[in-house]
């Protein structure tokens, strides 16, 4: 069946419009316009229509919604949300954030190539850059990378450009293992070395002595994550930075921005590059994306020239009368420098940056502290309560919002526990024994403002019950 009904998404698909356009062009049918496609590859209409694409015919919204609804009913949304972090956290999304990024003027815009008609978008992005800079105490923030992991990767590549000739990067073992995997992928084509700094098995922090023995004049940068993958406040961060800088290596820090309400910002740790993920800043989890890669540097022209990504700058109109915004340092970008660009990133996560801007504006100067404190209390309350049911934290050092729990003593695989929790309607933490075999049956439990004490009490109650049932 050839569909001839006008389609709501194709204004020109009416008989009248079609005829007018064909007449002006001077062809009889649309197919003529494809006369330069070699016959060998030209698809027949029937051939194409038989392909498995959608359900094989156009559908109305109502039908689409019925189909999708049926599928989504197979997903399971947990309340309370999973006690799970590992780089993505269930945080509250204020409705204003969703509202603002739903406004068509932002949602349906392109990259602001035409400055004068895009000032509102650029100002929002400039404000994102500026507020993020304050949170981080860094000077320059780009208007977004894809996610935390690719931000680290780009930071590492940048470090090699900045410290030209050096060929080594040190990454801590207690960083997010998925992030590490991404860095490896980005770095590999360039024949550069990644080495792993071990962690202190008792504390969970970076092994500083090991770092000292590994760092040398070939080291372009040292990366450190805080809170680290084990949720631990890396109290060695400052020391790590000093060791790095002593060897003229750059310090790259990865941060969970919500923690900066109570943790020292990267700027104060003298980081050269700060990265992280804005996912926690009003974006939702979205099964892993879109998130928001944070990328920030100090104001240093050597760094600026090598920084990837788009940056909006404050300027004025040509007549000097009005404040105005423009994209700056575009020469670094691939439209102009092509293969010499600082990165290939073009489409980024701009709308997520606007969301984060709205979120940061809502929380303001004191909100981050209050939020971080709340999360701290909740997580520490949970940490305190697990001992009642015979469980223990794996590491001794101070943590922020998540911590690995050892189930080695329970006597069954964690998967059994996990299964039982699911049966009780709870989704527990993240099993990390695969990435860290030395830890055995260990799961990383995370807590946010969405895990009330009531929810934590329920978790403890169910966990306790499960352990009594299945434990030895």
């Amino acid at each position: 069946m050839v569909e001839t009904r006008p389609h709501p998404w194709i204004p020109g698909s009416t008989e009248e419009s079609l005829k007018k356009m064909l007449d002006v062009i001077g062809v009889k049918s649309i197919t003529e316009l494809f006369n330069d496609i070699p016959r060998e590859v030209l698809l027949g209409e029937d051939e194409w229509n038989r392909l498995e694409i959608g359900v094989g015919r156009p559908l109305s919204e109502i039908e689409v919604k019925e189909i999708v609804d049926e599928k989504l009913a197979k997903n399971r949304v947990f309340n309370p949300p999973p006690f799970m972090g590992g780089g993505v956290y269930p945080h509250y999304v204020p409705p204003i954030v969703k509202y603002i990024i739903s406004r068509g003027e932002f949602l349906t815009a392109y990259t602001p190539y035409q400055a004068e008609i895009s000032q509102g978008l650029m100002q929002a992005l400039f404000e994102y850059q500026s507020m993020m800079a304050e949170l981080l105490e860094m000077d320059i923030v780009n208007a977004s990378m894809y996610d935390w992991s690719s931000s680290i990767a780009e930071a590492v590549l940048m470090a090699f450009r900045v410290r030209k000739g050096r060929r080594k990067i040190l990454l801590p073992a207690n960083m997010n293992p998925l992030h590490k995997r991404v860095v490896e992928t980005y770095v590999k084509p360039h024949g550069l070395k990644l080495e792993t700094i071990p962690y202190d098995r008792e504390l969970g922090t970076v092994d500083v002595e090991a770092l000292k023995s590994m760092i040398d004049n070939d080291t372009a940068a040292v990366y450190i994550q805080y809170p680290n993958f084990f949720g631990i406040v890396e109290d060695k961060a400052k020391a790590v930075g000093e060791i790095a800088h002593e060897k003229r290596a750059l310090l790259i820090t990865g941060v969970y921005p919500v923690s900066l309400g109570i943790l020292k910002p990267p700027g104060e740790l003298d980081a050269d590059i700060a990265v992280g993920d804005g996912q926690s800043l009003g974006l939702g989890m979205n099964y892993g994306g879109p998130h928001l890669g944070i990328f920030a540097i100090k104001y240093d022209m050597n760094l600026v020239r090598q920084m990837p990504g788009r940056i909006i700058g404050l300027t004025t109109t040509i007549d000097g009368e009005d404040k105005a915004f423009a994209m700056v340092w575009q020469a670094r970008e691939q439209h102009i420098r092509r293969e010499k660009a600082t990165s290939n990133i073009c489409t980024n996560e701009a709308l997520m940056a606007v969301a984060a801007a709205v979120y940061m504006a809502l929380l303001g100067r004191t909100g981050f502290r209050r939020l971080a404190e709340l999360i701290y209390y909740r997580a520490h309350y949970a940490a305190s309560r697990i001992s009642e049911i015979g469980l223990r934290r794996v590491f001794k050092a101070e943590f922020f919002n998540e911590f690995p729990i050892s189930f080695n003593e329970v006597g069954v695989n964690y998967s059994v526990i996990h299964e039982k929790l699911l049966e009780h309607g709870l989704h527990g933490g993240l099993y990390i024994g695969g990435h860290y075999p030395e830890l055995g049956e260990t799961a990383l439990y995370a807590f946010t403002e969405l895990h009330s004490v009531k929810a934590i009490d329920r978790l403890i109650e169910v966990l306790g019950k499960v352990i009594r049932e299945v434990g030895r």
């Binding site: 569909e3 998404w9 194709i10 062009i25 649309i30 316009l33 494809f34 330069d36 496609i37 194409w48 229509n49 498995e52 694409i53 015919r57 156009p58 689409v64 189909i67 999708v68 599928k71 197979k74 997903n75 399971r76 999973p82 003027e105 949602l107 349906t108 392109y110 035409q114 400055a115 100002q123 992005l125 507020m131 949170l135 996610d147 590549l157 992928t185 980005y186 943790l263 099964y287 104001y299 300027t315 109109t317 404040k323 700056v328 340092w329 691939q334 293969e339 660009a341 990165s343 489409t347 997520m352 606007v354 504006a361 929380l363 909100g367 709340l374 209390y377 309350y381 305190s384 989704h427």
Partner: protein, 515 residues
């Protein structure tokens, strides 16, 4: 009309969001907060302090000084700025998607995985490829995934030492060479011929032992279908090089020709272009790559898609479950931590589901129709010409040049762009592709109304008239936008460049004079 910076709004002590107080029982049990002093933040960040109404007003006002497809035509060439159907917005915002953790038990996300699985399959059919991977977060990210796969191909075949070059036409998107460079390749540029096709002699002269692959977009940025594509594919494959398809311009041939059928080995797609997901002012996007299952090593049973980075959804017949498979032994690895950019992928899914094959083919037909309609309206308009491919129909876009106007009266493509803004339109992509001087790369897409295209053409004619009658006037444009022409030089001048409020404050205090 003058919206202050957010740092200039609000007042000390104000907040826009009430964080719950920690429960008393938690406070009592935990006691005081015990962050080691070396890691304790000692002063709050200098964020603005606004009430909730101030936040919503501020960003509402900012949005009114932005412009998207919802406001009018955005004919940015090669960007495929089509209408973003709101049914997809509603579905993508469903809590049963938004609230899923990426590491959640697979059994609890079967609905989503089924959707992603189907999308993989549909995209494979649309492109004529065998396997699609939804992992990359943008077109350029997909390109990187693609060239890393090319790299792995030559690596696995132990020929990487000699396969050093990626060939790219001079009309290519800027991300192509940048991506190739990121994968460690040398970039060789080949020129376009006057008919808009690749200069075949030039191509033949560079293809050889060292050729790892060729990246092209077809139709090209000139909106022209590459007529020698089969010959090119043969040539490349003869030299064991990989043919890479930049899918940014798929909207010009979807349903009429498939990269897979043309001999391409790898293709990336832009969900946020061809498949109706919004651009969000620069992102998020989604740039799946689709791959032919070309044999790489028949002994080890490796096919090309095994080399690609990222996760994919597979269906496990034994359990009846959809599962996420991470990068395998031969894979290039991961390009981001988690599966992919789900929101745009859902938009794409809903778009394809809504359209079906019939609808997608119709999309292409009307995208091409409206391009040629516009080109016809702009034929023989004083001040503009239409370089390359004379007499050929365009596909998804057409590149005008304002060179005559620039040469004769000094009115440039940029001036033309500003004149369009004043008429309430967004401008085309200007000064691109690089091979066209004073380029106005224009792509309306099938979602634009013929009436708006006519008005657009009228405005371009009017601009030409003004340019020739009063060439200084265009320099004063735009006048109807929220600000007049922006001082980009100043924006970039080392003494002025101000990437954050923080820098601004320090500049005001004279602290940045050194830079």
């Amino acid at each position: 009309n003058w919206e202050p910076l957010i740092f200039e709004l609000g007042s000390k002590g104000r907040i826009g969001f009430l964080v719950p107080e920690p429960e008393d029982v938690a406070k009592k049990r935990v006691g005081s907060i015990d962050i080691p002093p070396e890691m304790k933040r000692t002063r709050d960040p200098e964020l603005p302090e606004l009430s909730e109404v101030e936040v919503i007003r501020h960003f509402t006002n900012l949005s009114q000084a932005a412009y998207g497809v919802d406001n009018g035509p955005v004919p940015l060439g090669s960007c495929t700025m089509k209408y973003n159907p709101r049914i997809a917005w509603e579905i993508a915002g469903d809590p049963r998607i938004v609230n899923l953790h990426p590491l959640q038990d697979e059994r609890t996300v079967q609905g989503l995985l089924e959707i992603l699985y189907e999308l993989q399959k549909w995209l494979a059919n649309i492109t004529g490829m065998d396997t699609c991977i939804l992992h990359p977060a943008a077109g350029a990210h997909g390109e990187l995934a693609g060239v890393l796969t090319i790299r792995r191909y030559h690596e696995v075949k132990n020929q990487l030492d000699k396969k050093t070059d990626i060939i790219i036409p001079d009309s290519a998107h800027g991300t192509n060479p940048a991506s190739a460079a990121m994968a460690g390749f040398r970039v060789i540029e080949v020129p376009s011929a006057e008919d808009g096709n690749i200069d075949m002699d030039a191509l033949k002269s560079v293809v050889g032992e060292s050729t790892a692959g060729l990246m092209i977009t077809n139709p090209s940025t000139l909106g022209l279908f590459e007529e020698h594509i089969l010959e090119i594919a043969e040539l490349l494959h003869k030299h064991d090089a990989i043919l890479y398809y930049d899918g940014a311009n798929l909207n010009g041939i979807m349903g009429y020709a498939r990269p897979g059928d043309m001999g391409f080995d790898i293709a990336h797609l832009n969900i946020h272009k061809t498949f109706g997901a919004p651009h969000g002012g620069g992102g998020p996007g989604a740039g799946p790559i689709c791959i032919k299952d070309r044999v790489v090593d028949s002994e080890k049973n490796i096919v090309l898609s095994d080399l690609a980075p990222g996760y994919r959804v597979v269906y496990d017949e034994s359990t009846g479950l959809y599962r996420v498979r991470g990068p395998g032994e031969y894979s290039a690895g991961l390009l981001k931590a988690f599966f992919g950019n789900i929101t745009p992928l859902i938009w794409g899914y809903v778009y394809i589901l809504s359209m079906g094959p019939q609808g997608l083919r119709r999309v292409t037909e009307h995208a091409v129709l409206i391009t040629n309609y516009f080109m016809k309206l702009m034929e023989n308009v004083k001040g503009y010409n239409i370089p390359y491919g004379r007499g050929r129909f365009r596909k998804h876009e057409v590149v005008l040049s304002a060179q005559p106007m620039a040469d004769e009266v000094g009115v440039t493509a940029e001036d033309v762009a500003k004149g369009l803004l004043d008429a309430g339109f967004y401008a085309p992509t200007i000064y691109f592709p690089l091979i066209v001087k004073e380029a106005l790369m224009t792509e309306f897409t099938e979602t634009e109304t013929p009436e708006n295209v006519e008005k657009y053409a009228e405005r371009l004619k009017e601009i030409s008239k003004i340019a020739y009658s009063n060439p200084s006037e265009p320099k004063t444009w735009p006048r109807n936008t929220s600000v007049g022409r922006v001082d980009v030089l100043k924006a970039n001048h080392p003494k002025h460049v101000t990437p954050t409020w923080r820098v601004h404050v320090r500049r005001m205090r004279g602290k940045f004079s050194e830079i």
